[in-house]
């Protein structure tokens, strides 16, 4: 029995919580809010008691798969564990009750945390300046491309084009387009890496930036990164790293050392902040010295007495990408994560992530097509082509994994692998849980041979079966409407 919509629950006159009685003399509301301005028809909102409200959300919650329930190998999303202590720290009243526009001297604790986080992220990336303003990875990309544009404009020409590999995340071209650039997509070579000849052909004096994910979306390190950076910089273009896969590189490779001029990070991936069902995240942008003048305002600066304050006096800044300073509560969690791990601990994170991925690959690779052989970094991409010949698609296998209490990998991405399954176990999974997932995946491979129809009809034991997406798109029902009585 499906859980009712909250608007179908409760009864007129019910309410979960109340406010204390008004303790000042009451004025005539009509005098305060003139007619014509005052709301006539009240919004249809739930009228529900607190227990029923809690039951509703608890019943809904258990329909979710999540990291704290089971394996969640969603490639490119780094579904690692979220340390509970970080939740406690982010909720500290000293942080939670600080207003963003407080005079700086009231907010030295928040400013100090942000300044230290900026410096730590710059060190991790081997670059010099960080903005914490972007609210998510794609927002960081957008900010980065605005910085790129402002940089080129300061040299007299914004340039016209952004180059991305055909394995790039969809956000890369979408972000570039939002900043008014044309997109040139280049094909990957037979090894799944940047094709240097194709890059050479695409590069010219109108290239603003080459956006590259490293390790790329196949989970492979771009081993010709040194040549790539030389080629890009020779044309006066910049080299951008999509940091979605930074979990492979902590303390192993610093993007700045390999020639990247700017990098966005996803704190909700690499730095353990919870994914929240799709946010809030944070997408700081870390840049080389020459790009620092273009970062969003305000910047945190230190006065002579050691106190911190906001500085808006940055004439070359792109402006602001968010009303306030960033998703501060998310920043607290990432700060706590880095402080708890330290330099050695962060390197261990990436080492374990790489080891888990290669181990999982070793356990399953004989049964699937592997278009680009390993060793991989923190994730790898299988192809379901072999199973497809028997009528079982990657989508079917993904759904069958749900029956086994696992989340599915990222599927049908990257676009250059047919029937792709992108698998990222992360470092917080034990050897046993990696093995358990491998067994589940191998069972699905068996079932695809022995009983393809059964896999094709999966999932069988989830709260709902496959949903009619065509109907959802053709007859959009995007908000509940109370039936007329």
């Amino acid at each position: 029995m499906a859980e009712k919509i909250i608007y179908e629950l409760g009864s007129p006159g019910r309410q979960s919580v109340d406010l204390p009685p008004l303790d000042v003399p009451s004025e005539d509301a009509g005098a305060m809010i003139p007619a014509g301005t005052r709301r006539v028809k009240p919004p249809m909102l739930p009228e529900i008691d607190e227990l029923e409200l809690i039951r509703h959300f608890v019943r809904l919650s258990v329909l979710n798969h999540h990291v704290e329930k089971g394996f969640y190998p969603l490639g490119s999303c780094t579904m690692k564990a979220n340390p509970p202590v970080n939740e406690v720290l982010a909720a500290l009243p000293g942080f939670a009750l600080a207003h963003p526009w407080w005079p700086a001297r009231l907010a030295q604790g928040s400013l100090r945390l942000m300044a230290e986080l900026e410096a730590m992220l710059a060190e991790i990336c081997g670059l010099s300046a960080t903005t914490l303003q972007p609210a998510a990875g794609a927002h960081g990309e957008l900010t980065g491309l605005m910085v790129v544009r402002a940089y080129h404009e300061s040299h007299g020409n914004p340039r016209k084009r952004v180059i991305v590999p055909d394995s790039a995340h969809g956000t890369n071209p979408a972000s570039a387009s939002l900043v008014g650039y044309e997109i040139v997509e280049i094909k990957s070579d037979g090894d799944g890496l940047v094709d240097l000849a194709a890059l050479e052909r695409a590069l010219d004096e109108d290239t603003a930036v080459f956006m590259l994910t490293n390790p790329n979306t196949l989970g492979l390190f771009e081993r010709r990164i040194c040549q790539i950076q030389q080629m890009v910089h020779a044309k006066g273009a910049l080299l951008y790293m999509d940091g979605a896969n930074m979990n492979a590189l902590l303390g192993i490779v610093r993007p700045g050392d390999t020639g990247f001029d700017l990098v966005h990070l996803n704190l909700h991936k690499t730095f353990s902040t919870p994914h929240g069902g799709g946010g809030p995240g944070a997408g700081p942008l870390v840049v080389a010295e020459k790009l620092a003048p273009f970062l969003p305002v305000p910047r945190i600066v230190q006065a002579e007495d050691g106190s911190l304050r906001w500085d808006y006096d940055r004439p070359q800044s792109i402006g602001k990408v968010m009303t306030w300073w960033g998703n501060f509560g998310v920043l607290v969690r990432a700060y706590a994560y880095i402080r708890s791990r330290g330099a050695r601990g962060l390197a261990q994170v990436s080492e374990a992530a790489i080891l888990n991925a290669n181990y999982l690959l070793a356990l399953v690779q004989d049964r699937f097509d592997l278009p680009y052989p390993g060793p991989c970094m923190h994730e790898f991409v299988l192809s379901g082509d072999r199973q497809k010949k028997r009528g079982v698609r990657t989508l079917d296998m993904a759904k069958r994994l749900l029956d086994k209490g696992m989340h599915a990998p990222t599927i049908y991405f990257p676009l250059i692998v047919s029937e792709a399954m992108m698998i990222e176990p992360t470092e917080t999974e034990s050897r046993e849980s990696v093995e358990e997932f491998a067994r589940a995946l191998l069972e699905v491979a068996d079932e695809a041979e022995e009983n393809p129809e059964f896999v094709h009809a999966a999932p069988h034991s989830t709260p709902v079966g496959r949903l009619d997406e065509t109907r959802a798109a053709r007859q959009p029902d995007l908000a509940f409407k109370r039936p007329k009585t």
């Binding site: 900043v179 902590l250 192993i252 994170v349 995007l478």
Partner: protein, 443 residues
């Protein structure tokens, strides 16, 4: 720190199964020149107890005050049930609901959030959330530009100054001209809109505006429509429990910040942006959308839908690049409005309004007149006669922040104080603060 699970023995077993001798063999695709050979220069690692102590100490370097500062970030009563529900790991540690069959919890709550936004704004469609208010308004501008094919936008100077900065930042690389509409006596004159509306993609206004004044929305919407532009309202969702919603007045897009009903002020984030529009504009709407549908057995279920607008399908032709948004804070918003219900929300709005007017009278008696005649809810601007900074300094030494010194926003407003009165302020706090203000004037 919480330890990682792999033991030395695990590592040996795993390396052997992979078929390599040492971990470093797995790193052979990384050229030696790209490797970082040293140790990152980071502070030493802290065990959990030491970490908690350190971060708590940092948090205590913030100085708590009795605050009358709103200006886009609002402290309201937050029912305990909000964090109680949002703290559930089933919501907190899931991600974007790509696999609908095991994400019905998140999907249904997003559908319920979309419904709440539709109901509050009076619009026809709302998305799953935006990062925050400023970028939501900026994306609304891009929608208007795309829908009309025009390349300039009007923005009232009653819109939050930092939101205006975000709008400028998004407009600039796209060659969109942002034309300010000056205020008269604290509100946006529709005549000023009509004078500038020719050829503009639309008008962005804020209700109530940055100075607390209630605008004449109807006239602003008509003025923009008269020139073929859209009307974009930036609205405070709590105000919509007492003010006529933009949708009912004919606005095309409503956007804004939902923090006031979802999250603590938290130094500016995370909050939750929202974006709602008319049915006609749905294909221009950025971001995730959840729709109801059925499974093979006819059971109701929810999916991400109309994804042909989005970056992972359309790439550079997408309406926006947004993907991850603020789902958990959107859930907080939904729980708040559900716990309070329509009457509780209206009561909260009404109490804040009553207290703001009570306090405004008290200030008036002590020589701080309203800067503008327009009606207001819980935020208003007063004249201070001398620089407002004097009052901020004077009261801070008593642990009270009396409002926002508008001189920090614009030098010509140095003698204006923007005051916010939460329904949580008690009569005693209001009386005492009014008295302190009076003392500074005479002191």
């Amino acid at each position: 720190m919480s330890r990682l699970p792999l033991t030395t023995r695990d590592r040996e077993l795993m390396l052997s199964r992979i078929g390599v001798d040492r971990f470093d063999d797995l790193l052979r695709p990384i050229p030696e020149t790209a490797r970082f050979s040293g140790l990152l220069d980071l502070p030493p690692s802290l065990a959990e107890g030491a970490l908690a102590r350190h971060v708590k100490e940092l948090s205590e370097r913030n100085v708590p005050v009795l605050s009358f500062m709103g200006a886009g970030s609002y402290e309201h009563f937050r029912p305990a049930v909000v964090d109680y529900v949002c703290g559930r790991p089933e919501f907190r540690t899931a991600y974007t609901p790509y696999q609908a069959e095991v994400s019905q919890g998140t999907l249904q709550t997003i559908y319920e959030f979309q419904t709440a936004i539709v109901e509050l704004t009076g619009m026809e469609v709302a998305n799953a959330s935006m990062y925050e208010g400023g970028s939501a308004v900026a994306e609304a501008m891009l929608m208007a530009v795309s829908a009309t094919g025009r390349s300039s936008i009007l923005i009232s100077e009653g819109v939050h100054p930092l939101v205006r900065r975000v709008v400028h930042t998004y407009a600039r690389p796209n060659g969109i001209a942002v034309i300010p509409v000056p205020l008269h006596q604290g509100t946006t004159p529709d005549t000023a809109v009509r004078e500038r509306a020719e050829g503009a993609a639309g008008l962005i206004y804020q209700e109530p505006n940055f100075f607390g004044c209630i605008e004449n929305q109807q006239r602003l919407i008509e003025a923009s429509h008269a020139a073929g532009g859209l009307a974009i309202a930036s609205v405070d969702p709590l105000s919509l429990s007492v003010l006529e919603p933009p949708g009912a007045l004919g606005a095309d897009i409503a956007a804004g910040e939902g923090q006031a009903l979802a999250a603590p002020v938290s130094f500016g984030g995370p909050g939750v942006g929202f974006l709602a529009c008319t049915q006609r504009l749905i294909r221009k709407l950025p971001g995730r959308l959840v729709g109801a549908t059925v499974d093979g057995q006819g059971r109701r279920g929810f999916v991400l839908t109309l994804q042909a607008r989005e970056q992972h399908i359309r790439r550079q032709k997408a309406t926006s690049n947004i993907c991850t948004n603020q789902a958990l804070v959107a859930l907080g918003f939904l729980v708040t409005v559900s716990a309070l219900g329509p009457h509780g929300l209206a009561n909260m709005a009404s109490q804040a309004t009553q207290k703001a007017h009570y306090y405004q009278h008290a200030l008036q008696k002590r020589g701080f007149p309203l800067a503008f005649d327009a009606p207001f809810l819980w935020e208003f601007t007063v004249r201070t006669g001398i620089p407002a900074a004097t009052y901020v300094e004077g009261l801070l030494s008593r642990g009270v922040l009396p409002g926002l010194d508008l001189g920090t926003v614009s030098p010509d407003l140095a003698e204006r104080l923007l005051v916010y009165v939460s329904e949580m302020r008690t009569r005693e706090e209001l009386d005492r603060t009014a008295e302190l203000m009076g003392e500074v004037s005479h002191g």
